[in-house]
Each structure stands twice: as C-alpha cells, then as structure tokens.
Symmetry: C2
Subunit: 203 residues, 2 copies
DNA sequence: TAATTCAGCTTACATCTGTACGCTATTTTA
DNA sequence: TAAAATAGCGTACAGATGTAAGCTGAATTA
C-alpha cells in the first residue's frame, strides 16, 4: 500500500468520522479534536498530520457539503429537462437530498448562523453560488430583467432553505406538508416577480 | 434591602451577564457556567441558587428574547396605524430592533438552528407567535382566506428573519440595502398571494 | 543496501469544566 | 428574642481538553 494513498485514506476517515459526529446535537464548535480522532481510530496527536486545526477540518467539511449541494443542483436541472415543472422538481430534489444527506445539510444550516466567522463566510459563499446559478437560470428561461430575477432567486433560495430546516426535524408526512407549502410560497414569489416585471415595463 | 429583592437582582445580573457573553462568537452551548458566574460577579456554585442548569438559564434567555420581539411587534403595529405602509414600517422597525438588540436577535437566530432541541423548540414557539399574529392581521386587513394568508405570513416571516440574519453582520449602508431588497421581496409575496386569491375565487 | 522521511504512537502537562460538600452571615419567621 | 431558612462562598475532585516532545517502524529515496 502506497504511503500517500494511506494518508489520504486516514484523512478520509477523519472527515467521515466528523460528519458522523455532526448529528442533531453537535456543531463544528462543539466537537473536539480528541473526539474526532477517537472516532477516526487514530491518536489525538496524529490528527495534526492531516489538519492544522479543528477549524481547518471544519472548513473542509463545509466545502464538501457545498460541493454536494452543487451536484444536487445539476441533478435537479437534469430532472427538470425531462418534465415535471421547475418548482416541483427542484423542491422534491432538495427534499430528497436533505433526507439522504441529513448531516450534510444540517452542517450548512448550523454553521450559516454559527459562532465562527470563517465558517459563516464559507457557507455564505456556497449560498451565493446557489443564488447566482438560479438567477442565471431564471433570466435564461423567463427573460426577467436582472434586478428582478436576482431578487426572486434570492427569495426562493431563502424560502427553500428555511423549509429544509423545518424538514430536517420532521416526520415523513410532515416533510410532504412542508414541501407542498413551500411550493405554493415559491409560486407567490414567481407570480409577484412577473407582476413586478410588467409594472417595470409600464414605466 | 429585601432578601427576595436581592435575589432577583442577582438573577438579573446573571441574565445580563449571559446576554453580554452571547456576542458574535458565542452560543448558549458554548458559554460555561463558570464563565457566566464570573461575569455576574458571583461564585460558580452560587449559580445553582438561581438556575438548576445552564440550560435552564438558556430557556430563560430565549423567553426574554421572544418577549422583546413581541413587544417589537406591538410597536410596529402602532407605527403602521400612524401611516407609512405596512411593509415599510414593519421592516424598518425590525431592522432597528436588530441594530439596537444585536445579541438578543442573534440568540434567537442561532438557537433556531442550534444543537439543543429544547432551545430550538423554544425559538420555534416564538416564531409561531409571529406567524399567528401576522396571519390574523393579514386576514383582518386584506380579507385573504385563511390558507393563503397563512402561507403568506409564514413566507414573510422567513424572509424577514433571513434578512435580519444578513443585517446582523452588515455595515450601516449594507443594512439599508438589505432592508430595501427584502421589502421588494415581500411585495412579490403579497402580490403573488393576492393573485392566488383571485384564482381561488374563480374556481 | 544505507539513509531519509514521515504517519502514527505514547507520555506528559497545564488548563478548564461541572458540581458535591459544608461553612458563614444575614434575613425571615415564630 | 430565639430558631429556622437561605444566598453566597471556598475548597476539592474527577474528568476532559489542546498540544508539546520525542520515539518507532515502515515506506521512500539515493
């Protein structure tokens, strides 16, 4: 077995151990280096061979979570292309993601309002990606002017993330309810934005 | 000086010390009993004369924060009555609150997605108050049917809270920008809801 | 093959935590 | 006034934490 390879493997096991620790009652700031090391099956001090800090590990986790979200968006777009409606498909895809990758989404949600400015900034970067891509998509499919498309996209992302937060702790049927409600709310936003476009055109 | 009176005074100083500790880098789960006691000027063990737990203190803080928010709403309603538009006045009032009671709002925001189920539940209760009152207000002023008014109110609260989260870390001019944007987004929602009402009536 | 690198380990230490126990001094009650 | 209650204190202890120092053995390089 290669040395590099082995090191990467250990690094992976640290990362995955950390994700497992990040359940509904733990945040990045509350997991300890020793605890992660224990879960990863290494000595506390060996942790330093891979990360300078617990914080460096935390940033890595946020990055990985963001990556997973972007992959999700690609998946959603593919499903939209094959019919079903933008809002329906996107929300359903999102909800599936949350259910399947519980801890990953929870991490983003928690650190978004967490105690570390670095983590908050990292999460904000990921959300900004979301906004930019949705704004572009909206412009290209509806022809809304940039300012309106952007406001719309931002509002939609916020509503979907809030719904995701609710869904995290919810039962399966509650999740369906949350999904249904947010879809209606997204339609409010879309229709309101369309109306704003019409008004803007008339002036 | 009364004994009860003195005890209340100490209790107050614990609560206020805790609020002061809850700045942008501390959450309820990261402040220690000893730290709070130190800041309040009492011995660590004296803390137990007032609260069973740090958690009991935490719930008290969430309650106080929720109370402050409800008072804010009353204030906002009074200002609406004296003209200026519902959305404008509400958002402005909210933003003023956030600026003046930084740590109070931050507490709610953080514990909303925090690691303690009890705290999350407590914050949700406060948000539900918000939703109920806004739904009632919407029905009585616009005549929207309950289901639509409720969806609208929920969406608006989520958007305003999200905007509040952004405003917390923002400069004064950024805050103005955030406020302006959320007002436009709220109009999207209101107009979209009105349209939904029209559609619902036509069926 | 001999020398170097380095992932992971063990040991060690200073610091912080929650909280149990019992004392004191003052207020309240009888 | 005598007895009871109690807010606050000091001491003490068993954990947990981050991380410094130095060792080991296997993989890599020369």
């Amino acid at each position: 077995m290669n040395r590099q390879e082995q090191k990467l493997r250990t690094r992976r096991s640290i990362i995955e151990a950390a994700f497992l620790l990040l359940d509904e009652q733990r945040s990045l700031s509350s997991i300890s280096l020793r605890e992660v090391a224990r879960a990863a099956g290494i000595a506390p001090t060996s942790f330093y061979r891979h990360f300078k800090d617990i914080d460096e590990l935390g940033l890595t986790l946020v990055d990985e979570a963001g990556l997973a979200l972007r992959q999700l968006m690609r998946q959603a777009r593919a499903r939209i292309a094959s019919g079903g409606g933008v809002i329906n498909t996107s929300v359903d895809t999102f909800m599936e993601f949350i259910t399947a990758n519980n801890n990953v989404f929870r991490l983003l949600l928690r650190e978004h309002t967490g105690t570390s400015m670095a983590f908050r900034a990292a999460v904000l970067r990921e959300i900004k990606h979301f906004n930019v891509e949705l704004t572009d998509y909206t412009i290209s499919t509806t022809g809304l002017p940039y300012n309106i498309a952007n406001l719309q996209a931002e509002a939609m992302v916020k509503l979907v993330f809030s719904a995701g937060a609710e869904a995290l702790d919810a039962s399966e049927e509650q999740k369906l309810n949350v999904a249904e409600r947010v879809k209606l709310q997204l339609r409010f936003v879309v229709n309101g934005a369309l109306q704003a476009k019409a008004e803007q055109a008339n002036s």
